[in-house]
Amino acid sequence: MEALLNLLKQNARESDDTLAKMLNTTADDVHARIAALELSGVIRAYQAVVNTDIIADHNDVCAVIELRIRPEREGGFDRIAQRIGGFPQVVSMFLMSGGYDLLLFVTGRNLQEVAGFVSGILAPIDGVLSTATHFMLKTYKDHGVLMTGEENDQRLTICP
């Protein structure tokens, strides 16, 4: 199962037939295994890795927000995390060790929108002790994919 997942993580659009040939099995078997992975919740979604920096009319901004929160007596960090994670502006969220508790990736149409989300929605939530917001300037690498300066294949076209 590990091999199939690794292949899908590299290219989720690979055809069942190609995956089957690589894994020495049948396309039907691959189809069934993927269906089982989806059903059990191991595979949550399929998404494209996009380089938004080179899209002409793309002005969305992304911020990384460090959040310190007060865990609740019942439910610890989970309940407050769930409350924050429900906002569509929050793209990713992780519980962290170290100097803060939650790390959020937040997007908005512009700087003001994200700032407004932080000061107007996040900070006032009961249990949020502090926020620190960092805006992203340029994406070099995302999900293991280099966004700039991809190496050319410098190999000779035929060699022994």
Binding site: A3, L7, N11, E14, T18, K21, M22, L23, N24, E151, D153, R155, L156, T157, I158, C159, P160
Partner: protein, 394 residues
């Protein structure tokens, strides 16, 4: 003009004049003149050299590792190589007296031949074979004797075939497994039979195991590790294939002290030492490169499965090679010769592969395809080749 070329030609030693140019060369020129070609003709890994190895190389330059090293190679690298050969091949070499670091495995077999072969000595080697072995043997005035391997034996050289070519002048046996161009690998029983054969005829054995890390199935057995073999074996290896370091030109040769001494003399006068920078990179590869190999090996295995199953599906018989990154399918069912098949495939579908005959006469009826190529290119190449084969049969 005629006179000029005549006089230049006269200066060339007769035994060099007789050497063939690599059969791949003519093909390369055609491919180079075209744009949209997908090449399955490349004999080197497509993965970039692992980043930590490149970073260490830059550090090495910055910290001044830009000088001659010991002729044999830096002590640190030789110590690491001794530990590696023990761990990976189960044969122990003394780093002080039994290892020479060379400029690629190519220099390693060159100095091995020059140190051990005399004019008229016959060397048995199996074909299809990498293009450099026989010509380099000839530069020492030795006589390379080709022994054909067959699809029926999965291209594992058979002692019965070797026996037929033994004469009183037979001095050595050359082995290259996992094999370029077939991807074949030897089983323990093969290595045992070859060991008995070498001892029976008192032969020196050269073994080029540069593809050993790219073994996908089965036990990896080196003839150097067999009882009674270390003293008559020259073990050749390099960093190019396992760590995707072809441009670093880094290899090594291991042998008993008397043989190492002899090879060292030629290396010392002809080459001085391998690049100091590359040696630092090689040390990093040995120190922290096991995961790099594992990752690349896993990818190669999956691509191999894909290409073997695609070729068989289009009716080109292809055995599943246990090593290296080549497949060697039979194209006899199309009625074309290897060269015609490769040329027409290139002209009609812009897919480049290498005709089997480039690796010896017994490669006729086969082509070599490399799967050291990304999946997207492999898929396109298989689609185009499938269309080509279908058209041939229509």
């Amino acid at each position: 003009m005629t006179n000029a070329s005549q006089s230049v030609r006269d200066f060339v030693a007769p035994h060099v004049r007789g050497l063939p140019k690599s059969g791949i060369r003519a093909f390369f020129d055609i491919v180079a003149s075209r744009k949209d070609v997908i090449s399955l003709g490349i004999g080197e890994p497509d993965f970039p050299t692992p980043w930590h190895i490149r970073a260490r190389t830059i550090e090495a330059i910055e910290s001044g590792a830009t000088r001659y090293t010991s002729n044999l190679g830096t002590p640190e690298l030789r110590q690491a190589l001794a530990a590696y050969t023990e761990r990976a091949f189960h044969v122990g070499y003394d780093w002080k007296s039994e290892i020479v670091v060379t400029v690629g495995v190519s220099e390693a077999f060159d100095i091995a031949f020059r140190a051990t072969l005399s004019p008229g000595d016959e060397v048995l080697y199996h074909e299809p074979a990498f293009v450099a072995y026989a010509p380099l043997m000839r530069t020492t005035h030795a006589v390379p004797v080709a022994v054909a391997t067959h699809r029926a034996d999965d291209f594992r050289v058979q002692v019965s075939d070797l026996e037929k070519k033994v004469t009183p002048r037979t001095r050595a046996l050359f082995l290259n497994y996992p094999n370029n161009p077939t991807g074949a690998a030897l089983r323990r029983s093969d290595v045992e039979a070859l060991t008995a054969f070498a001892i029976r005829h008192d032969l020196l054995v050269y073994t080029d195991e540069v593809y050993a890390e790219l073994t996908y199935e089965g036990e990896r057995v080196s003839i150097a590790a067999m009882p009674g073999m270390k003293e008559r074996t020259i073990f050749l290896n390099g960093f190019s294939k396992a760590w995707s370091m072809t441009g670093f030109r880094l290899g090594y040769v291991c042998a008993p002290p008397a043989l190492t001494d002899a090879m060292m003399k030629i290396h010392q006068y002809g080459m001085m030492c391998a690049s100091s920078i590359s040696q630092a990179a090689g040390l990093e590869a040995l120190r922290a490169g096991d995961d790099d190999i594992a990752g690349m090996r896993d990818s190669y295995r999956l691509r191999r499965n894909y290409i073997v199953s695609s070729l068989n599906a289009m009716g080109l018989d292809c055995f599943t090679p246990p090593g290296a990154f080549y497949v060697f399918p039979s194209i006899t069912s199309t009625g074309l010769s290897s060269e015609d098949f490769a040329l027409r495939l290139l002209n009609e579908e812009s897919v480049a592969c290498v005709p089997g005959t480039a690796f010896g006469a017994c490669g006729e009826g086969h082509i070599r395809c490399t799967y050291a190529t990304g999946m997207e290119s492999l898929k396109k190449a298989m689609e185009r080749m499938g269309a080509f084969v279908t058209r041939l049969r229509a």
